[in-house]
Structure formats: C-alpha cells, structure tokens
C-alpha cells in the first residue's frame, strides 16, 4: 500500500522533460573529438587527388620530410600492406562487384578527394603546409560522372572488374504483367534523387592514442558507430578487439555521414602504431565535402497501373543507384532498404522492383537520413499526385481509396512487410483540420481565377516508413554482415542510484534523457537518479550503435527489459529481507511489499544497499543488482503520418515560399514529446532542403563544383518556416514500450509534400514536373517552357536543367533567379 502522506513519484514517460545532455552543450564544456588532445599528439594531414580519375605515376614525400616540424610522411604504397581495404558490410548479391578500397590510393585515384598521401607534423598548420611539398604526379584517365553513361562501360571506374555495374537486385511480389496488362490507366515517370551532402555541423575528427609497449590503442572518433568501428578496425588491421578501445565522445550530428568506417580512422590507427605517438586528424569542411560520404543520387523510372476508380493494381520501379567510386560500409544496402517502402501505405496486387548499383568517379554514397526510404516515399507520393491528376480526382481522395484502413492491421504488404499497427485515417483527418485544407483549396481557386502573380500550391505526403533496424534474421536474409540487436545494462548502485549502460551511441537525439525516463518509470525512481553511460567500448562493450531510427525501438526497449530483469532479481533479495515468499512480493513504484502484510515494505534503494553489503542474502544468489539484456526485435516498426504543405510560388521570379507546414505523425508511444517534436522539425528541414535548396553538383570532369558551404546551400533560419506539428498515437505491437521511432520520419515525409505543393501551384499553367531542388531558376524555366509550349510530352523524362549557378546559362536566363536569392536576403544568404 502506498502511504498517501508520501509524495508520489511523477511518471516521467510521456513528459516533456528538459534534456540532461544540455548543461555542457550550452556552456561550452564539451568533449568534441577535436577538443581532445594527448601528450605528444601529432597532427595528420591528407593529400587528396585533384583529379576524378588518374593513374598515380609518382608520389615523393621526401621534400615534405625536410620541412621543420614534420615527423613523417607516407604514400599509399608505403602503407599498403598495413592499411588493407576499407570494409563494405553489405554485399547485397552473391556476385556483387566489390573492388578493393585502399584507404590511401596506391596505383589509381577514382574521385576528387581520394587520399594519396599523409603527412604527420607537430601542429596542424605545419602539417597542412607540408602537403604542399609532397610531389604527386598523375596520368589522367577519363572521368565518368553520369550513371547512365557509366552503364555503357565505355569508361571503367575499376578497369580490372570489367564493368561499372556493381549489382542488379530484383524483387517482386504478385503478377506484375497481369496488373499492368488490364489496367485502365498507367502513369509512368522518371524522378531524379539528386546527390546530397549530409553536412553534420561537427566535421569528422579522429584521435588515436597508443600505448605502444602494450599494443593498446584508444580511438576517439566523431562517429555514430563506436562498436561497429571497433570490430571493423580489428578486422582491417589485425589488432585484437581487446586491445582496441573506441570512444565516441560528444558527437555533433551525423545523419548517416558518421555511420561509416573511414580511411582516416584506419590511417590514424596505423600511424599511431607505427610512430608510437598519438595521431589526430580533423577534416576541414571543404575536405569533408569530398571525403565524407554523400547521400541519395538515384534515377527512378517508375510506373503505376490503376483501375478507372483509382484503385492501384501494380507498381513498377526500375532504380539506378550511384555508388560513387567505391563501396563504403553500407553503400549497396541503401537502395535495397528503399525497395520495401515503395508500396508505402497502399494496397496493390503486384509490385516489381529492380535496382542497379553503378560505379562512377565520384565520392562514395552511403546512408543519409532516411537511407532509401525518402527516395521511395518521394517516388510513390509524387506518383500518387500524378495519378490523381490523370484521373481528375483530389489527391487526398485518391490516397483514401488506396490506403490500408485501420481495421486491416496487421497487414502484409505486397513487398512482404507486415505492418503491425497504424491509423492513416486518424492522422490525416487531424492534419486536414489543422491545415484548413478546404479553405486553402478555395484560396487556390481564387488565385487561379484572378491569374494572381503568386500562385498557391498544396502538397500532400501520406507516408509510412520502417524503423528499428532491425530483426537480425531479416538482416541476414538481406545478406547484411551483422545483426540488428541492441544491448543494455541496468544496475542499482549501493547509494540507490541507477546506472544504465546502452549500446546506442547518441549524437543529438537525447538518449540520456529518454533512457532515464524509461528506467525511472520501470524502477520507480526519480528521473534525476538515473545516469546513462554510452559511446565507449570500455564502458559499453556490447552495442550496435545509432542509425536507421533504431535507438529507441531497439535500444530503448532493451533498457526497459533490463530494468524489469533487475526488479525480478531484486524481488528475491526483497523476499529474503522481508522474510516472505518470493511469490508474495509485489513491486510498485520503487517499493517491494508483501501481499497481505502492508507494513512489510522495502525500497529498491534499501535492497541495493543490502545486496552491496552482502552480509545476509539467500543461498544460490550472487550479490549483485545488475542485469544485461540483448534485445533482438521481432519486426520493424512502422511510424506513419500525414504532412501537408502550402507553398506560394511567384510566377515571375520562380521563388517558392512555404506558407504553412502541418504534420501529424504517429510514432507510437511517445517517451518525450519535446524531443519527438525536435526530431520532426529537424527532419522536415532536411527534407525541405532536398526539395528546394540542396544539390551536390559535379562537372563533366568529375570536379565537385559545390565543394564548400558557400556553394552547397544548407538552409539557414530565414529559408525555413515554423512548423505546426501534431500527433496521433497508435502503439506498436512489436515491442513492449509500444514505440516506433522518429529520427528520420520528417525527412522521409517532407520532400514529396513540398515538391507536390510546388507542382500543384503551377499545374494549371502547364508545368508537370520540376527536378529537385526546385530552385527559382528551375521553377522559372519550367513556367517559361510551359508558356512557350516547349514542354516535352511527358515533361519528366527530359534531361535535367542545369544547376542554377554552375550549369550552362542560356541567354534568356533571368538574372534574378539564383539559389542564393531563395533566402530572400539583400545581403546574400548565409555569408
């Protein structure tokens, strides 16, 4: 019985508790990797290829060694035996072409930024200067930048492999020919997912501190994956895992870009071993734009077949995915993850998917926020709008006719996933009410009627996604090199505080706060009494790290389960202390009671102290209140939601301004609503950025033209609106917490909502598609072409317009329409 005079502990799950992480972050008392130093630290700098493709004819490091302050310098050939090949953990097919990936190029460079030599010096300025003294000679080879050109195999990225096709991965469900043959309507489109640069604001950095005599190494890295990195460094260098400690200290964002095993991490480790000194490297932003993975870069040829009433019969997807020059950790797997998401929330009879991975002489691609799912969601949500236009029905009505209704869950899709729960109607109805859909449609009609210079467009995206990477057996069936479990340890300390050790590795997501909330409620202790330890393989030896919206759904659930195991353990001690049978012990809100004897109680804190003292405990038990759990989920989780965007497009300047953005997301049970909203905001911003602003542009010679933050348009505060967020809550049934994951939802949902809105504003003027990003120039050009009647029949398979700042500019291009103008600032964007 609870003593009513005692204050009841407030449940913390579901509360918008302020983050524990913030104190050091808002005061500058941080441990970013570049902040760290060790006695005798040497600084590494990397000489990079200025050519997209070339044979290396000579690398002479001797002149660099003559510079004062330089300690060592090495070419790729000098270190080849020790460096080995960078790992790719996802051979998606048995016959996948998997070229060697030397951390330092030896014979050939294959993208601008490929590393060719390193220098080590006493400080970072000296190291950078010394690079100028390394002599590197190249024999130029032709670049191949365009995927379709690469598929012709006229220029080979890896000559020894004989092809630029990395893999062909087919996947099908149902009878696709039957679905298309009898269809009343078929809509075919080509969509291009432009290449993006993730741009975590903290650049990558690594510091390796050796204890040379013992052969032990501590690797501090700005990484999302300390555990996977340790394993891969062990496999690559032959140093045993027990001698390798990997620490992810404070990590400043990742978005997938730090979900990798990078050349510099391996090189720094090998140099620390060779030189016996701590080695540190921090990328500059411009260096990172070449040497850190890029995202997206797909060509999507899609076709949808439907009945006259709008019911979908089948979907065909032919995907080309740009791998870049090499395979990084999960490069080939990214488009394969997307394969399962094209059918999205819709019922259909058949689905046919085929993905071709292609090598080009560009920076490797890999997972970028959403990793395959934003691409798939974009294609299906754009296609639904095109089908609605074809059929002359409201785009939301078309979706309603096709989506899985809430009574139909669990529902196995044509792609073979079983969605456990959801309620698309509820989320949509709520979003439509918040958005004033009908009112905006009326205003749109009025603006069209009076031929207003500024037209209004409404964009819809009713998305779902798969979170919680992942059931290990599923990853196995997809040939991924590891499982998808997550580990947690919960311990009650002698003073009655809770220590949670997690295998997730947060870099902004708020795991410390959320895991504290979960553990506090499970154990009936105060939120403040929970500490969460992470990101250091010596503290948390087991883990699969943070990516794929997996941390809460897998790692958070593991914390909950470990806490429950601790209670079960403590119950036996409590029974002993209370001289009762274990079967008669109840646990509630931190207190053990004996059924039928209300006066006999003890708290988990008192039990912890008694267990620590270990003066009196039952036979057969170990004096310890620690429990470990490794949780392997049975299924993915499937958050969903409805995102609505109203956009004003100036038909004279081509400038698009988001007027309102409303979303209702169903991410299952919410641990901390403030953190969930923050994840949604940031995700939407990155999706809007793809729709309107960002594009990594290469010229024909393979130079990254958008090679600095001056040229690559990461939106600033004036470029984005405020967001109106709402939630519905349909708990996941595949985990005990009922949680679904939220890290990528906003990014997955928002891009098609925005592009659909831009097109909806201009459709009546004859515009049928605009390649992303929908910059003012591209919008203007699309309007211009439509007015001139020059739009091609499909409007979508035409070659892409040139980049607004770097492509060829025909004489009629308006001087006003540059990307920088999008910010609407007199003084030019983010300078």
């Amino acid at each position: 019985m609870t003593d009513l005079a005692e204050p009841t502990r407030t449940p913390s799950v579901g509360q918008p508790l302020h983050r524990k992480e913030d104190a050091r972050l808002v005061t500058g008392q941080t441990r970013w990797t570049d902040n760290l130093t060790a006695p005798g630290t040497l600084h590494m700098a990397v000489l990079r290829s200025p050519m997209a493709h070339a044979g290396i004819t000579r690398v002479d490091t001797a002149p660099a060694l003559d510079q004062p302050g330089v300690i060592a310098a090495f070419s790729g050939a000098d270190l080849a035996d020790e460096l080995g090949s960078l790992p790719c953990a996802w051979p998606v097919t048995a016959d996948m072409v998997h070229p060697d990936h030397p951390p330092l190029a030896v014979a050939e460079v294959r993208y601008v930024g490929d590393a060719v030599a390193v220098v080590v010096a006493r400080d970072r300025y000296t190291a950078a200067d010394a690079l100028e003294h390394i002599v590197a000679d190249y024999e130029p080879l032709p670049a191949v930048v365009d995927m379709e050109a690469a598929l012709a195999d006229e220029v080979l990225v890896h000559a020894g492999k004989g092809t630029n096709t990395c893999f062909v991965w087919p996947f099908a469900g149902g009878d696709i020919d039957a679905a298309f043959d009898g269809a009343d309507v078929v809509v075919e489109r080509r969509f291009v997912q432009q290449r993006l640069i993730p741009t975590a604001i903290e650049p990558r950095a690594v510091l390796v501190e050796p204890v040379a005599a013992a052969g032990e190494y501590t690797v501090y890295s700005a990484t999302q994956i300390p555990h996977i990195l340790r394993l891969m460094l062990a496999l690559t260098t032959g140093i045993s895992e027990g001698k390798l400690r990997v620490v992810a200290p404070d990590v400043g964002g990742g978005f997938g870009s730090k979900l990798n095993v990078y050349a510099e991490e391996v090189i720094a480790l090998v140099l620390a071993k060779r030189l016996g000194r701590p080695i540190k490297w921090t990328e500059s932003r411009s260096e990172g734009y070449q040497a850190t993975i890029h995202g997206r870069d797909q060509i999507q040829d899609v076709a949808i077949a439907a009945h006259a009433d709008g019911r979908i019969r089948g979907l065909r997807v032919d995907l080309k995915a740009d791998m870049g020059a090499y395979l990084q950790l999960v490069t080939p797997g990214v488009p394969i993850l997307g394969a399962f998401m094209f059918p999205a929330i819709y019922k259909m009879d058949a689905y046919d998917f085929r993905c071709t991975g292609v090598f080009t002489t560009k920076t490797p691609t890999d997972a970028y926020r959403g990793a395959g799912r934003p691409e798939a969601t974009f294609a299906i949500e754009r296609l639904m709008d095109e089908l609605a236009v074809e059929l002359g029905v409201d785009p939301m009505e078309l979706r309603r006719r096709n989506w899985i209704t809430h009574e139909e869950f669990p529902y196995t899709t044509v792609a073979g996933l079983t969605y456990d729960s959801g309620n698309y109607e509820a989320a949509t109805d709520k979003a439509m009410a918040m958005f004033d859909y009908d009112g905006l449609r009326r205003e749109q009609a009025e603006r069209r009627e009076r031929n207003d210079r500024v037209q209004l467009g409404i964009g819809i995206s009713t998305y779902t996604e798969m979170c919680g990477l992942a059931p290990s057996r599923v990853l196995g069936s997809l040939s991924y090199g590891a499982g998808g479990w997550e580990a947690a340890t919960v311990r009650v300390t002698p003073t009655g505080k809770i220590e949670v050790v997690t295998g997730t590795s947060p870099h902004g997501q708020g795991h410390v706060t959320c895991w504290s909330q979960i553990a506090a409620d499970a154990l009936g202790v105060a939120f403040e009494d929970v500490e969460v330890l992470h990101g250091d393989t010596q503290v948390s030896p087991m883990g699969m790290d943070t990516y794929g919206s997996r941390s809460l759904v897998v790692g958070g659930v593991a914390v909950q389960q470990a806490a429950e195991k601790v209670i079960e353990k403590a119950k036996r001690f409590a029974a002993h202390l209370l001289e009762a049978s274990e079967d008669d012990i109840d646990f509630s809100d931190g207190t053990f009671t004996v059924r039928g004897s209300p006066e006999a109680t003890t708290t988990i804190q008192d039990v912890a102290l008694a267990v620590f003292a270990a003066h009196d405990y039952p036979e057969g038990l170990e004096p310890d209140l620690t429990s470990d759990v490794v949780f392997d989920p049975e299924n993915f989780s499937f958050p969903h939601g409805t995102h609505l965007c109203a956009i004003e497009v100036d038909t004279e300047t081509g400038r698009s301004v988001i007027r309102s953005y409303v979303c209702v997301d169903d991410v299952g049970r919410v641990i901390n609503p403030q953190i969930v909203e923050g994840q949604v905001h940031g995700g939407i911003a990155q999706g809007i950025a793809q729709a309107l602003y960002e594009e990594a542009v290469y010229d024909d010679a393979g130079n990254l033209v958008t090679g600095t933050l001056v040229d690559y348009f990461v939106p600033g505060a004036p470029d984005l609106p405020s967001f109106t967020t709402g939630r519905t809550e349909t708990p996941a049934t595949s985990n005990a917490l009922g949680v679904k994951g939220v890290g990528e939802a906003g990014t997955i949902a928002s891009t098609p909502a925005v592009v659909n809105a831009v097109l909806d504003a201009l459709r009546h003027l004859g515009v049928t598609d605009i390649a992303m990003p929908c910059s003012p120039e591209r919008v203007w050009r699309a309007l211009h072409d439509a007015r001139e009647g020059a739009t091609q029949a499909s409007g979508t398979v035409a070659s892409r317009p040139p980049h607004p700042e770097y492509g060829e500019s025909p004489p009629q291009a308006p001087a006003i329409a540059t990307q920088a103008d999008l910010s609407g600032l007199d003084e030019g964007g983010q300078q």
Partner: protein
C-alpha cells in the same frame, strides 16, 4: 612574431602568435578554450561566433593579431556571472545567461555543436533588438547554420530569452 594582448572572458592573455594564426585556433589550440567550435572553412556556419568588443564575430574569419587590444566573450564566459534571473533547476543553471536557459528549456539544441555560436549570435541580436519578431530572429541568425533543429525551437528560445530579459531588466 607579433605579440598580442587580449582580454577573454575577463582574463587578459599576452602571447606571441604567428601572424597567420586564426583567432579561433588561438582560442582552441593555444588557450584550450574549446567551447568555441569550428564547423566550416568559409565563414558560413557561424559555429565559431564570439563577441568581440560586444559584437558578434566569426572567430574563424579573424586573425589572432586582429584581436589585439580587444575584449572578447565566449560561450564559456557567458556561462559565468550573468546577474539576471534564471530558471532554478537543481541549482545547475545558476549563473546561466537567459539564452542558455532558454535554449535548454525550449529544446533549441540537439547535437549542440552549433549552439555556442548560435547563442553568442543571439546575444548580439538581442542587444540590437530586445524585442524581435520571428522574422527578425530568423534574419538575425542567418549567419549561423544548424542541421538538427530546423531552427523552429531556436527561434522559440530566442523569443523566450527576450521575454525573460525584458522582465528582468
């Protein structure tokens, strides 16, 4: 080598510095004041923003020698000695500037890497305009990039701090 004398967060430092040394590297590498971050090499991201003689400046865009004779405030100095009221929360926030408190309570940060620069730019913004509209906040922070928050809660935090500072003024 030129000698500089610069007062940073209340302490005066005298050092011989290479003429080409960036001020942000002087702060971080010479003085160990690592609260100020570096996020780019083109003065776009604003992670390195500090106050020089009371005005926000990107410390990657100035040389250490240009700071000679200046008074500089960094996020680390801001964290001490703010005389105004601040939300008490277990004592940990004693002395926090209202912007530091507001970024915390409004969830205006996720990874936190842009935060020192964002807060220092906001200090200058509110000094210029103690009662900014949403639009004025967004344009006032145009020189600072955040990749996590979508700026939504940063705008809210600056609003909240402005309200707090007016109440405490």
């Amino acid at each position: 080598m030129p000698t500089i004398s610069v007062k940073i967060d209340g302490t005066t430092y005298r050092d011989d510095v290479e003429a080409r040394l960036l001020f942000v590297h002087y702060l971080r590498d010479r003085l160990g004041l690592t609260g100020t971050n570096i996020g780019c090499d083109t003065s776009n991201c604003g992670a390195c923003t500090v106050l020089v003689d009371g005005h926000s400046a990107k410390s990657c865009t100035m040389l250490a020698v240009q700071a000679d004779g200046c008074e500089v405030q960094t996020i680390e100095g801001l964290a001490r000695g703010w005389a105004g009221a601040s939300e008490p929360e277990g004592g940990q926030q004693d002395g926090w500037h209202p912007l530091q408190t507001a970024f915390h309570t409004e969830h205006g940060l996720q990874c936190g890497y842009c935060t020192p620069g964002m807060i220092m730019a906001s200090v200058d913004l509110l000094a210029d305009n103690p009662d900014p509209s949403e639009d004025e906040i967004r344009h006032g922070l145009e020189g600072n990039l955040c990749r996590c928050t979508g700026y939504h809660n940063i705008v809210k935090a600056v609003h909240a701090a402005a309200t707090q500072m007016k109440a405490g003024a």
